[in-house]
Protein backbone atom coordinates (compact mmCIF):
# COMPACT_ATOMS: atom_id res chain seq x y z
CA UNK A 1 0.00 0.00 0.00
CA UNK A 2 1.21 3.46 -0.88
CA UNK A 3 1.29 5.49 2.31
CA UNK A 4 1.24 8.77 0.35
CA UNK A 5 -2.16 8.03 -1.18
CA UNK A 6 -5.36 8.38 0.88
CA UNK A 7 -7.71 5.43 0.46
CA UNK A 8 -11.43 6.20 0.19
CA UNK A 9 -13.57 6.06 3.31
CA UNK A 10 -17.17 6.97 3.99
CA UNK A 11 -18.58 8.71 7.03
CA UNK A 12 -20.95 6.31 8.75
CA UNK A 13 -22.06 7.98 11.97
CA UNK A 14 -21.41 11.27 13.70
CA UNK A 15 -22.06 11.18 17.42
CA UNK A 16 -21.84 14.57 19.09
CA UNK A 17 -20.02 14.12 22.40
CA UNK A 18 -20.04 17.74 23.51
CA UNK A 19 -20.91 21.03 21.91
CA UNK A 20 -17.60 21.08 19.98
CA UNK A 21 -16.47 17.46 19.90
CA UNK A 22 -17.77 14.48 17.91
CA UNK A 23 -17.03 10.80 17.58
CA UNK A 24 -16.90 9.97 13.90
CA UNK A 25 -17.19 6.44 12.63
CA UNK A 26 -16.03 5.92 9.12
CA UNK A 27 -15.71 2.88 6.95
CA UNK A 28 -12.99 1.97 4.56
CA UNK A 29 -12.66 -1.34 2.69
CA UNK A 30 -12.82 -4.50 4.86
CA UNK A 31 -9.37 -5.66 6.03
CA UNK A 32 -7.87 -2.33 4.96
CA UNK A 33 -4.69 -1.91 7.00
CA UNK A 34 -5.60 1.66 7.93
CA UNK A 35 -8.42 0.23 10.02
CA UNK A 36 -7.13 -3.25 10.80
CA UNK A 37 -3.54 -2.95 11.95
CA UNK A 38 -2.69 -0.11 14.26
CA UNK A 39 -1.38 0.20 17.75
CA UNK A 40 -3.06 2.51 20.24
CA UNK A 41 -1.22 5.84 20.14
CA UNK A 42 -0.58 5.69 16.41
CA UNK A 43 -2.32 8.17 14.14
CA UNK A 44 -3.80 8.41 10.70
CA UNK A 45 -4.07 11.28 8.24
CA UNK A 46 -7.70 12.19 7.54
CA UNK A 47 -8.48 13.97 4.28
CA UNK A 48 -11.57 16.07 3.76
CA UNK A 49 -11.65 16.56 -0.02
CA UNK A 50 -11.24 20.17 -1.04
CA UNK A 51 -10.33 21.23 2.48
CA UNK A 52 -7.17 19.43 3.52
CA UNK A 53 -5.61 16.75 5.61
CA UNK A 54 -4.87 16.45 9.33
CA UNK A 55 -3.26 13.93 11.65
CA UNK A 56 -5.71 12.35 14.11
CA UNK A 57 -5.06 9.70 16.75
CA UNK A 58 -6.97 6.48 16.57
CA UNK A 59 -9.70 6.44 19.19
CA UNK A 60 -11.05 2.91 18.79
CA UNK A 61 -10.00 -0.70 18.41
CA UNK A 62 -8.52 -2.23 15.22
CA UNK A 63 -11.25 -3.75 13.08
CA UNK A 64 -11.41 -6.15 10.15
CA UNK A 65 -14.67 -4.66 8.88
CA UNK A 66 -12.98 -1.43 7.88
CA UNK A 67 -14.49 0.77 10.59
CA UNK A 68 -12.45 3.52 12.20
CA UNK A 69 -13.42 5.66 15.19
CA UNK A 70 -12.02 9.16 15.44
CA UNK A 71 -12.69 11.72 18.13
CA UNK A 72 -12.59 15.19 16.63
CA UNK A 73 -12.78 18.63 18.22
CA UNK A 74 -14.12 21.08 15.67
CA UNK A 75 -11.64 23.91 16.07
CA UNK A 76 -9.19 23.71 13.18
CA UNK A 77 -9.18 24.50 9.47
CA UNK A 78 -10.20 20.91 8.62
CA UNK A 79 -12.09 19.93 11.77
CA UNK A 80 -14.43 22.93 11.60
CA UNK A 81 -15.74 22.06 8.12
CA UNK A 82 -15.79 18.44 9.30
CA UNK A 83 -18.64 19.43 11.60
CA UNK A 84 -20.86 19.74 8.55
CA UNK A 85 -20.28 16.22 7.18
CA UNK A 86 -23.21 13.84 7.03
CA UNK A 87 -23.35 10.05 6.85
CA UNK A 88 -22.34 8.90 3.39
CA UNK A 89 -19.88 11.72 2.78
CA UNK A 90 -16.56 10.71 1.26
CA UNK A 91 -13.26 11.26 3.06
CA UNK A 92 -9.79 9.78 2.67
CA UNK A 93 -7.47 8.07 5.14
CA UNK A 94 -3.78 7.16 5.21
CA UNK A 95 -1.97 5.30 7.91
CA UNK A 96 -1.33 3.98 10.42
CA UNK A 97 1.69 6.17 11.15
CA UNK A 98 4.20 6.55 13.93
CA UNK A 99 5.02 4.58 17.03
CA UNK A 100 2.20 3.90 19.44
CA UNK A 101 2.08 2.58 22.98
CA UNK A 102 4.27 -0.50 23.29
CA UNK A 103 1.70 -2.92 24.69
CA UNK A 104 4.17 -5.79 24.92
CA UNK A 105 6.24 -3.83 27.45
CA UNK A 106 3.18 -3.50 29.69
CA UNK A 107 2.55 -7.23 30.17
CA UNK A 108 2.00 -8.05 33.82
CA UNK A 109 2.30 -4.41 34.82
CA UNK A 110 -0.07 -1.91 36.37
CA UNK A 111 -1.16 0.82 33.98
CA UNK A 112 -1.91 4.39 34.93
CA UNK A 113 -3.68 6.24 32.12
CA UNK A 114 -3.72 10.01 32.51
CA UNK A 115 -5.80 12.02 30.07
CA UNK A 116 -6.34 15.75 29.86
CA UNK A 117 -9.22 16.99 27.71
CA UNK A 118 -9.17 15.57 24.21
CA UNK A 119 -6.17 13.46 25.26
CA UNK A 120 -8.73 10.83 26.24
CA UNK A 121 -9.10 9.96 22.52
CA UNK A 122 -5.84 8.02 22.03
CA UNK A 123 -6.03 6.70 25.59
CA UNK A 124 -9.49 5.28 24.87
CA UNK A 125 -7.85 3.30 22.09
CA UNK A 126 -5.22 2.10 24.56
CA UNK A 127 -7.89 1.29 27.14
CA UNK A 128 -9.87 -0.78 24.62
CA UNK A 129 -6.73 -2.74 23.74
CA UNK A 130 -5.97 -3.32 27.44
CA UNK A 131 -9.53 -4.45 28.17
CA UNK A 132 -9.41 -6.79 25.17
CA UNK A 133 -6.77 -8.85 27.01
CA UNK A 134 -7.64 -7.73 30.53
CA UNK A 135 -5.92 -10.77 32.07
CA UNK A 136 -2.51 -9.66 30.79
CA UNK A 137 -2.29 -6.53 32.91
CA UNK A 138 -2.54 -5.67 36.58
CA UNK A 139 -4.33 -2.64 37.98
CA UNK A 140 -5.80 -0.27 35.43
CA UNK A 141 -6.21 3.24 36.76
CA UNK A 142 -7.62 6.14 34.76
CA UNK A 143 -7.14 9.74 35.77
CA UNK A 144 -9.09 12.06 33.54
CA UNK A 145 -9.38 15.82 33.72
CA UNK A 146 -11.38 18.29 31.65
CA UNK A 147 -12.13 21.97 31.94
CA UNK A 148 -15.75 21.38 33.02
CA UNK A 149 -17.99 18.41 33.53
CA UNK A 150 -19.84 18.93 30.25
CA UNK A 151 -16.50 18.52 28.47
CA UNK A 152 -15.82 15.05 29.91
CA UNK A 153 -15.88 12.65 26.97
CA UNK A 154 -16.95 9.01 26.98
CA UNK A 155 -18.33 9.43 30.49
CA UNK A 156 -20.88 6.60 30.13
CA UNK A 157 -18.23 4.15 29.00
CA UNK A 158 -15.81 5.10 31.76
CA UNK A 159 -18.43 4.94 34.54
CA UNK A 160 -19.60 1.55 33.25
CA UNK A 161 -16.04 0.19 33.37
CA UNK A 162 -15.64 1.56 36.90
CA UNK A 163 -18.93 -0.07 37.90
CA UNK A 164 -17.82 -3.42 36.51
CA UNK A 165 -14.58 -3.16 38.46
CA UNK A 166 -12.41 -3.29 35.33
CA UNK A 167 -10.74 0.01 36.06
CA UNK A 168 -10.27 2.51 38.86
CA UNK A 169 -11.52 5.87 37.66
CA UNK A 170 -10.89 9.33 39.06
CA UNK A 171 -11.87 12.49 37.28
CA UNK A 172 -11.43 16.18 37.78
CA UNK A 173 -12.84 19.35 36.30
CA UNK A 174 -11.12 22.73 36.47
CA UNK A 175 -14.31 24.59 37.26
CA UNK A 176 -17.84 23.59 38.21
CA UNK A 177 -19.70 25.84 35.71
CA UNK A 178 -23.44 25.18 35.55
CA UNK A 179 -23.42 21.55 36.50
CA UNK A 180 -23.31 21.74 40.28
CA UNK A 181 -23.62 18.05 40.98
CA UNK A 182 -21.09 16.75 38.50
CA UNK A 183 -20.61 13.09 37.77
CA UNK A 184 -19.46 10.62 40.44
CA UNK A 185 -15.72 10.12 41.00
CA UNK A 186 -15.17 13.68 39.86
CA UNK A 187 -13.50 16.46 41.84
CA UNK A 188 -13.09 20.12 41.16
CA UNK A 189 -9.34 20.28 40.82
CA UNK A 190 -6.58 20.44 38.26
CA UNK A 191 -5.62 17.11 36.76
CA UNK A 192 -2.25 16.69 38.54
CA UNK A 193 -4.04 16.96 41.91
CA UNK A 194 -5.59 13.54 41.26
CA UNK A 195 -2.16 12.04 41.77
CA UNK A 196 -2.05 13.29 45.35
CA UNK A 197 -4.49 10.67 46.61
CA UNK A 198 -3.20 7.85 44.47
CA UNK A 199 -1.02 5.06 45.70
CA UNK A 200 0.94 3.09 43.17
CA UNK A 201 3.80 0.64 43.05
CA UNK A 202 6.45 2.45 41.01
CA UNK A 203 8.32 -0.77 40.34
CA UNK A 204 5.42 -2.26 38.39
CA UNK A 205 3.58 0.75 37.02
CA UNK A 206 3.70 2.37 33.59
CA UNK A 207 2.05 5.74 33.10
CA UNK A 208 0.54 6.56 29.68
CA UNK A 209 -0.22 10.25 29.33
CA UNK A 210 -1.97 12.34 26.74
CA UNK A 211 -3.13 15.87 27.26
CA UNK A 212 -2.51 19.47 26.40
CA UNK A 213 1.19 20.40 26.64
CA UNK A 214 0.50 22.66 29.61
CA UNK A 215 -0.25 19.76 31.97
CA UNK A 216 2.83 17.69 31.20
CA UNK A 217 5.48 19.35 33.38
CA UNK A 218 3.39 19.15 36.56
CA UNK A 219 2.23 15.58 35.91
CA UNK A 220 5.76 14.44 35.17
CA UNK A 221 7.35 15.99 38.24
CA UNK A 222 4.61 14.52 40.44
CA UNK A 223 5.05 11.04 38.90
CA UNK A 224 8.80 11.25 39.38
CA UNK A 225 8.27 12.19 43.02
CA UNK A 226 6.16 9.05 43.31
CA UNK A 227 9.15 7.04 42.12
CA UNK A 228 8.35 6.40 38.45
CA UNK A 229 11.44 6.35 36.24
CA UNK A 230 11.65 8.17 32.90
CA UNK A 231 11.46 4.85 31.03
CA UNK A 232 8.07 4.14 32.56
CA UNK A 233 6.42 7.45 31.78
CA UNK A 234 5.06 7.35 28.24
CA UNK A 235 3.77 10.53 26.65
CA UNK A 236 1.91 11.18 23.46
CA UNK A 237 3.09 14.45 21.91
CA UNK A 238 1.08 16.75 19.72
CA UNK A 239 2.82 18.18 16.67
CA UNK A 240 1.91 19.30 13.19
CA UNK A 241 2.47 16.06 11.27
CA UNK A 242 1.72 17.08 7.73
CA UNK A 243 3.10 14.16 5.75
CA UNK A 244 3.22 11.35 8.31
CA UNK A 245 6.28 9.76 6.74
CA UNK A 246 9.18 11.82 8.10
CA UNK A 247 9.61 14.19 5.18
CA UNK A 248 7.80 17.49 5.61
CA UNK A 249 9.93 18.53 8.60
CA UNK A 250 7.18 20.10 10.72
CA UNK A 251 7.01 17.68 13.63
CA UNK A 252 10.65 17.53 14.71
CA UNK A 253 11.28 17.29 18.44
CA UNK A 254 14.98 17.98 18.81
CA UNK A 255 16.39 15.61 16.22
CA UNK A 256 13.53 13.12 16.62
CA UNK A 257 10.54 13.13 14.30
CA UNK A 258 7.18 12.90 16.03
CA UNK A 259 5.55 11.18 13.04
CA UNK A 260 8.10 8.38 12.82
CA UNK A 261 9.88 8.16 16.18
CA UNK A 262 6.69 9.11 18.09
CA UNK A 263 4.11 10.41 18.75
CA UNK A 264 4.49 8.21 21.85
CA UNK A 265 7.82 8.76 23.58
CA UNK A 266 9.15 7.72 26.94
CA UNK A 267 10.18 10.61 29.14
CA UNK A 268 13.71 9.19 29.08
CA UNK A 269 13.85 9.60 25.30
CA UNK A 270 12.85 13.25 25.59
CA UNK A 271 15.35 14.10 28.32
CA UNK A 272 17.30 17.26 27.53
CA UNK A 273 15.43 17.97 24.28
CA UNK A 274 14.52 21.61 24.07
CA UNK A 275 10.84 22.30 23.48
CA UNK A 276 9.77 18.66 23.74
CA UNK A 277 7.34 19.37 26.57
CA UNK A 278 7.02 23.14 26.37
Amino acid sequence: MNSNLPVPAVISTIRPLTVDTSLLTLFTAPSCSVAASFLPGQFLELSLPGVGEIPISYCGFPSQDGSIELCVRHVGHVTTPLKAVTPGDAVGVRGPFGRGFQLSAYTGQDLLLIAGGLGIAPLRSLLLALLHRRELWGRLTILYGARESSALLFLDELLELQKRGEVELQMSVDQPKHCLDGPPYCRIALLPALLDQLSLDPARTFAAICGPPVVYPLLISRLQQMGLSGEKIHLSLERRMKCGVGRCGHCAVGTLLCCVDGPVFSLAELAGIEGALA
Binding site: G50, H250, L257
Partner: protein, 330 residues
Protein backbone atom coordinates in the same frame (compact mmCIF):
# COMPACT_ATOMS: atom_id res chain seq x y z
CA UNK B 1 46.22 5.89 -14.70
CA UNK B 2 44.70 6.62 -18.10
CA UNK B 3 42.17 9.43 -18.05
CA UNK B 4 40.01 11.02 -20.69
CA UNK B 5 40.56 14.57 -21.75
CA UNK B 6 38.34 16.87 -23.71
CA UNK B 7 39.71 20.08 -25.15
CA UNK B 8 37.80 23.29 -24.40
CA UNK B 9 37.11 23.85 -28.10
CA UNK B 10 35.29 20.50 -28.23
CA UNK B 11 32.96 21.31 -25.36
CA UNK B 12 30.27 22.89 -27.52
CA UNK B 13 30.21 19.80 -29.72
CA UNK B 14 29.95 17.58 -26.66
CA UNK B 15 27.03 19.57 -25.28
CA UNK B 16 25.32 19.39 -28.66
CA UNK B 17 25.72 15.62 -28.59
CA UNK B 18 24.32 15.36 -25.07
CA UNK B 19 21.33 17.49 -26.00
CA UNK B 20 20.22 14.95 -28.60
CA UNK B 21 18.78 12.54 -26.04
CA UNK B 22 17.92 14.76 -23.11
CA UNK B 23 17.23 18.26 -21.92
CA UNK B 24 20.49 19.88 -20.93
CA UNK B 25 20.64 22.38 -18.09
CA UNK B 26 23.55 24.07 -16.36
CA UNK B 27 24.64 27.29 -14.65
CA UNK B 28 23.73 30.17 -16.97
CA UNK B 29 24.30 33.83 -16.23
CA UNK B 30 21.14 35.74 -17.05
CA UNK B 31 20.84 39.28 -18.39
CA UNK B 32 20.25 40.34 -14.79
CA UNK B 33 23.68 39.01 -13.82
CA UNK B 34 22.18 36.24 -11.73
CA UNK B 35 23.53 32.75 -12.27
CA UNK B 36 20.86 30.05 -12.23
CA UNK B 37 20.45 26.51 -13.43
CA UNK B 38 18.63 26.84 -16.74
CA UNK B 39 18.52 25.30 -20.19
CA UNK B 40 21.83 25.46 -22.01
CA UNK B 41 20.73 26.79 -25.38
CA UNK B 42 22.61 25.74 -28.51
CA UNK B 43 25.73 27.85 -28.93
CA UNK B 44 25.80 28.84 -25.26
CA UNK B 45 28.33 27.44 -22.79
CA UNK B 46 27.57 26.99 -19.10
CA UNK B 47 29.17 29.53 -16.81
CA UNK B 48 31.95 27.59 -15.11
CA UNK B 49 33.34 30.70 -13.44
CA UNK B 50 30.30 31.12 -11.17
CA UNK B 51 30.92 29.73 -7.69
CA UNK B 52 27.22 29.14 -7.02
CA UNK B 53 23.80 29.43 -8.60
CA UNK B 54 21.05 31.37 -6.83
CA UNK B 55 18.90 28.26 -6.33
CA UNK B 56 20.38 24.80 -5.89
CA UNK B 57 19.48 21.89 -8.18
CA UNK B 58 16.83 20.67 -5.71
CA UNK B 59 14.35 22.71 -7.76
CA UNK B 60 14.47 19.98 -10.41
CA UNK B 61 13.61 17.23 -7.94
CA UNK B 62 11.22 19.07 -5.63
CA UNK B 63 9.42 21.83 -7.45
CA UNK B 64 8.80 24.99 -5.41
CA UNK B 65 5.10 24.19 -5.66
CA UNK B 66 3.67 21.01 -7.13
CA UNK B 67 0.48 18.99 -7.16
CA UNK B 68 0.87 15.77 -5.21
CA UNK B 69 -2.74 14.57 -5.38
CA UNK B 70 -5.81 15.23 -7.48
CA UNK B 71 -9.29 14.53 -6.21
CA UNK B 72 -12.48 13.87 -8.10
CA UNK B 73 -15.71 12.59 -6.62
CA UNK B 74 -15.63 9.61 -9.01
CA UNK B 75 -12.02 8.49 -8.59
CA UNK B 76 -11.16 9.78 -5.12
CA UNK B 77 -7.57 10.88 -4.54
CA UNK B 78 -5.15 9.98 -7.33
CA UNK B 79 -1.48 10.66 -7.76
CA UNK B 80 -0.68 12.83 -10.76
CA UNK B 81 1.01 11.05 -13.63
CA UNK B 82 4.07 12.98 -14.66
CA UNK B 83 5.77 12.66 -18.01
CA UNK B 84 9.41 12.82 -17.12
CA UNK B 85 11.90 14.02 -19.70
CA UNK B 86 15.51 12.87 -19.40
CA UNK B 87 17.55 15.74 -17.97
CA UNK B 88 21.30 16.20 -17.83
CA UNK B 89 22.49 18.72 -15.25
CA UNK B 90 25.87 19.88 -16.46
CA UNK B 91 28.15 21.81 -14.13
CA UNK B 92 27.24 20.72 -10.62
CA UNK B 93 29.77 21.45 -7.92
CA UNK B 94 30.63 18.81 -5.31
CA UNK B 95 28.44 20.49 -2.68
CA UNK B 96 25.38 20.29 -4.93
CA UNK B 97 26.16 16.66 -5.75
CA UNK B 98 26.33 15.95 -2.02
CA UNK B 99 23.09 17.88 -1.53
CA UNK B 100 21.35 15.58 -4.02
CA UNK B 101 22.84 12.61 -2.18
CA UNK B 102 21.18 13.91 1.01
CA UNK B 103 17.81 14.47 -0.65
CA UNK B 104 18.02 10.95 -2.12
CA UNK B 105 18.28 9.56 1.39
CA UNK B 106 15.14 11.42 2.43
CA UNK B 107 12.96 10.90 -0.64
CA UNK B 108 14.13 7.51 -1.94
CA UNK B 109 14.74 4.67 0.50
CA UNK B 110 12.07 2.26 1.73
CA UNK B 111 9.09 3.99 0.25
CA UNK B 112 10.24 6.44 -2.40
CA UNK B 113 8.34 9.64 -2.99
CA UNK B 114 6.83 8.96 -6.43
CA UNK B 115 7.41 12.42 -7.92
CA UNK B 116 10.96 12.68 -6.62
CA UNK B 117 11.85 9.12 -7.63
CA UNK B 118 10.53 9.61 -11.17
CA UNK B 119 12.49 12.79 -11.73
CA UNK B 120 15.62 11.45 -10.05
CA UNK B 121 15.76 8.37 -12.25
CA UNK B 122 15.66 10.62 -15.31
CA UNK B 123 18.45 12.84 -14.02
CA UNK B 124 22.07 12.58 -15.11
CA UNK B 125 24.55 14.40 -12.91
CA UNK B 126 27.62 15.97 -14.47
CA UNK B 127 29.92 17.57 -11.94
CA UNK B 128 32.58 20.17 -12.51
CA UNK B 129 35.49 21.17 -10.32
CA UNK B 130 35.42 24.52 -8.54
CA UNK B 131 37.41 26.79 -6.30
CA UNK B 132 35.76 27.70 -2.98
CA UNK B 133 35.28 31.39 -2.27
CA UNK B 134 34.90 33.25 1.04
CA UNK B 135 31.31 32.04 1.51
CA UNK B 136 32.09 28.36 0.92
CA UNK B 137 32.68 26.03 3.85
CA UNK B 138 32.97 22.61 2.20
CA UNK B 139 36.62 22.63 3.18
CA UNK B 140 35.88 23.37 6.83
CA UNK B 141 33.69 20.47 7.93
CA UNK B 142 34.06 16.81 6.98
CA UNK B 143 30.85 15.61 5.38
CA UNK B 144 29.69 11.98 5.30
CA UNK B 145 27.51 12.84 2.28
CA UNK B 146 28.82 11.52 -1.00
CA UNK B 147 29.38 13.74 -4.01
CA UNK B 148 28.09 11.06 -6.39
CA UNK B 149 28.09 11.81 -10.11
CA UNK B 150 27.63 10.18 -13.47
CA UNK B 151 30.40 12.25 -15.03
CA UNK B 152 32.84 14.71 -13.49
CA UNK B 153 34.79 17.36 -15.38
CA UNK B 154 37.99 18.63 -13.82
CA UNK B 155 38.95 21.99 -15.22
CA UNK B 156 42.60 21.94 -16.36
CA UNK B 157 44.62 24.02 -18.78
CA UNK B 158 43.07 23.81 -22.22
CA UNK B 159 40.14 21.61 -21.28
CA UNK B 160 38.74 19.09 -18.84
CA UNK B 161 39.79 15.76 -17.44
CA UNK B 162 36.65 13.61 -17.46
CA UNK B 163 35.88 10.86 -14.97
CA UNK B 164 32.84 8.60 -15.06
CA UNK B 165 31.19 7.58 -11.81
CA UNK B 166 28.42 5.28 -12.99
CA UNK B 167 27.43 2.99 -15.83
CA UNK B 168 25.31 5.83 -17.20
CA UNK B 169 28.44 7.98 -17.23
CA UNK B 170 30.40 5.28 -19.07
CA UNK B 171 27.64 5.08 -21.69
CA UNK B 172 27.66 8.82 -22.18
CA UNK B 173 31.42 8.82 -22.68
CA UNK B 174 31.07 6.06 -25.22
CA UNK B 175 28.71 8.28 -27.22
CA UNK B 176 31.23 11.09 -27.35
CA UNK B 177 34.44 9.12 -27.49
CA UNK B 178 35.50 10.71 -30.78
CA UNK B 179 35.71 14.04 -28.93
CA UNK B 180 37.91 12.64 -26.16
CA UNK B 181 41.63 12.09 -25.95
CA UNK B 182 43.49 9.58 -23.83
CA UNK B 183 45.80 11.25 -21.34
CA UNK B 184 48.21 9.96 -18.76
CA UNK B 185 48.65 11.50 -15.34
CA UNK B 186 46.43 11.80 -12.34
CA UNK B 187 43.15 13.57 -11.80
CA UNK B 188 43.89 16.81 -9.98
CA UNK B 189 42.49 17.22 -6.48
CA UNK B 190 39.12 18.93 -6.29
CA UNK B 191 36.38 19.66 -3.76
CA UNK B 192 35.04 16.10 -3.98
CA UNK B 193 37.68 15.24 -1.40
CA UNK B 194 35.72 16.99 1.35
CA UNK B 195 32.79 14.58 0.96
CA UNK B 196 32.17 10.92 1.66
CA UNK B 197 34.08 10.86 4.93
CA UNK B 198 33.25 8.44 7.67
CA UNK B 199 32.45 10.83 10.47
CA UNK B 200 33.21 9.34 13.86
CA UNK B 201 30.05 8.81 15.84
CA UNK B 202 30.21 10.95 18.88
CA UNK B 203 27.64 11.80 21.45
CA UNK B 204 27.29 15.54 21.36
CA UNK B 205 25.36 17.44 23.97
CA UNK B 206 22.28 19.28 22.75
CA UNK B 207 23.22 22.75 21.47
CA UNK B 208 23.51 24.93 24.57
CA UNK B 209 20.38 27.09 24.75
CA UNK B 210 22.08 29.62 26.97
CA UNK B 211 24.69 30.69 24.43
CA UNK B 212 24.20 34.39 23.71
CA UNK B 213 24.77 33.74 19.98
CA UNK B 214 21.25 32.35 19.51
CA UNK B 215 19.64 35.56 20.63
CA UNK B 216 22.14 37.66 18.69
CA UNK B 217 21.25 35.76 15.52
CA UNK B 218 17.54 35.96 16.32
CA UNK B 219 17.67 39.69 16.96
CA UNK B 220 19.14 40.38 13.54
CA UNK B 221 17.20 37.79 11.53
CA UNK B 222 14.44 39.25 9.35
CA UNK B 223 12.69 35.88 9.11
CA UNK B 224 12.62 36.10 5.31
CA UNK B 225 13.56 32.45 4.84
CA UNK B 226 15.96 33.09 1.96
CA UNK B 227 18.54 30.83 3.63
CA UNK B 228 16.40 27.74 3.38
CA UNK B 229 14.98 28.50 -0.05
CA UNK B 230 18.50 28.52 -1.45
CA UNK B 231 19.77 25.61 0.68
CA UNK B 232 20.47 22.47 -1.35
CA UNK B 233 19.41 20.24 1.56
CA UNK B 234 16.39 22.13 2.94
CA UNK B 235 13.34 20.13 1.94
CA UNK B 236 10.64 21.06 4.48
CA UNK B 237 7.33 21.42 2.71
CA UNK B 238 3.89 22.68 3.53
CA UNK B 239 0.79 20.90 2.26
CA UNK B 240 -2.23 22.84 1.00
CA UNK B 241 -5.47 21.74 -0.58
CA UNK B 242 -7.45 23.72 -3.12
CA UNK B 243 -11.05 23.05 -3.96
CA UNK B 244 -11.98 23.18 -7.63
CA UNK B 245 -14.55 25.70 -8.86
CA UNK B 246 -16.93 22.81 -9.54
CA UNK B 247 -16.78 22.16 -5.77
CA UNK B 248 -16.39 18.42 -6.33
CA UNK B 249 -12.78 18.26 -7.44
CA UNK B 250 -9.66 19.31 -5.58
CA UNK B 251 -5.92 19.36 -5.81
CA UNK B 252 -3.39 18.99 -3.04
CA UNK B 253 -0.10 20.76 -3.44
CA UNK B 254 3.10 20.81 -1.51
CA UNK B 255 5.32 23.85 -1.52
CA UNK B 256 8.70 24.70 -0.06
CA UNK B 257 8.31 25.74 3.55
CA UNK B 258 10.62 27.39 5.96
CA UNK B 259 11.60 26.58 9.52
CA UNK B 260 12.23 30.23 10.35
CA UNK B 261 8.60 31.10 9.68
CA UNK B 262 6.56 31.56 12.82
CA UNK B 263 3.87 29.03 11.92
CA UNK B 264 6.25 26.17 11.19
CA UNK B 265 5.61 24.40 14.50
CA UNK B 266 2.15 25.75 15.18
CA UNK B 267 -0.69 23.30 15.85
CA UNK B 268 -4.47 23.69 16.01
CA UNK B 269 -5.53 25.90 18.87
CA UNK B 270 -2.59 28.24 18.32
CA UNK B 271 -0.03 26.40 20.44
CA UNK B 272 3.42 26.97 18.97
CA UNK B 273 6.26 24.65 19.86
CA UNK B 274 8.90 27.09 18.57
CA UNK B 275 7.56 30.48 19.54
CA UNK B 276 10.74 32.51 19.52
CA UNK B 277 13.12 33.16 16.66
CA UNK B 278 15.98 31.86 18.82
CA UNK B 279 14.18 28.52 19.16
CA UNK B 280 13.64 28.42 15.43
CA UNK B 281 17.33 29.13 14.86
CA UNK B 282 18.26 26.20 17.06
CA UNK B 283 15.85 24.03 15.08
CA UNK B 284 17.55 25.08 11.87
CA UNK B 285 20.95 24.50 13.44
CA UNK B 286 19.99 20.98 14.54
CA UNK B 287 18.76 20.09 11.09
CA UNK B 288 21.82 21.46 9.34
CA UNK B 289 24.45 20.06 11.70
CA UNK B 290 22.85 17.17 13.62
CA UNK B 291 20.31 15.61 11.21
CA UNK B 292 16.77 14.42 11.82
CA UNK B 293 15.06 11.06 12.20
CA UNK B 294 16.73 8.31 10.24
CA UNK B 295 19.52 10.70 9.25
CA UNK B 296 20.28 11.67 12.81
CA UNK B 297 24.00 12.29 13.23
CA UNK B 298 24.47 13.20 9.56
CA UNK B 299 25.05 16.92 9.11
CA UNK B 300 23.19 18.21 6.08
CA UNK B 301 25.18 21.40 5.53
CA UNK B 302 27.25 20.84 2.40
CA UNK B 303 29.08 24.16 2.67
CA UNK B 304 27.80 25.68 -0.59
CA UNK B 305 27.71 29.13 1.02
CA UNK B 306 24.37 30.14 -0.50
CA UNK B 307 22.70 30.97 2.83
CA UNK B 308 25.54 33.28 3.83
CA UNK B 309 25.73 34.94 0.45
CA UNK B 310 22.00 35.71 0.22
CA UNK B 311 21.16 36.62 3.83
CA UNK B 312 20.06 40.27 3.79
CA UNK B 313 21.20 40.61 7.40
CA UNK B 314 24.56 38.95 6.76
CA UNK B 315 23.89 36.16 9.24
CA UNK B 316 26.20 33.17 9.41
CA UNK B 317 25.76 29.97 11.41
CA UNK B 318 29.26 28.85 10.55
CA UNK B 319 31.25 30.29 13.47
CA UNK B 320 28.82 28.66 15.88
CA UNK B 321 29.05 25.36 14.03
CA UNK B 322 32.82 25.45 14.15
CA UNK B 323 32.65 25.86 17.92
CA UNK B 324 29.92 23.34 18.64
CA UNK B 325 30.72 20.69 16.07
CA UNK B 326 34.50 20.92 15.74
CA UNK B 327 35.96 19.10 12.75
CA UNK B 328 37.54 22.16 11.18
CA UNK B 329 40.29 20.93 8.94
CA UNK B 330 41.93 23.90 7.26
Amino acid sequence: MATKFIASHNLAALLERLRKNADLHGPIRGDDGVVRFAAIAPGILPDFSAVRTLLPPKKYLLHPQETILNYTAEAGYQMPVEEVQQLILFGLHSCDLAGINYLDQIFLGDEPDPLYAGRRSALTLVGVSCTPDEFCSCHQLDSPLKALFDLFFNIVDGGFIVTSGSSRGVELLERVKDLLEERGGTVPEDTRRYFGHVVAEQVRPEPDETLPEWQELADRCLGCGACSICCPTCYCFDVLEFCGLDSCSASRVRQWDNCLFKNHAEVAGGINFRKSMAERFRYRYRHKYRGFGSLQGIPSCVGCGRCRSVCPAGLDLRPLAERLEGGRRE
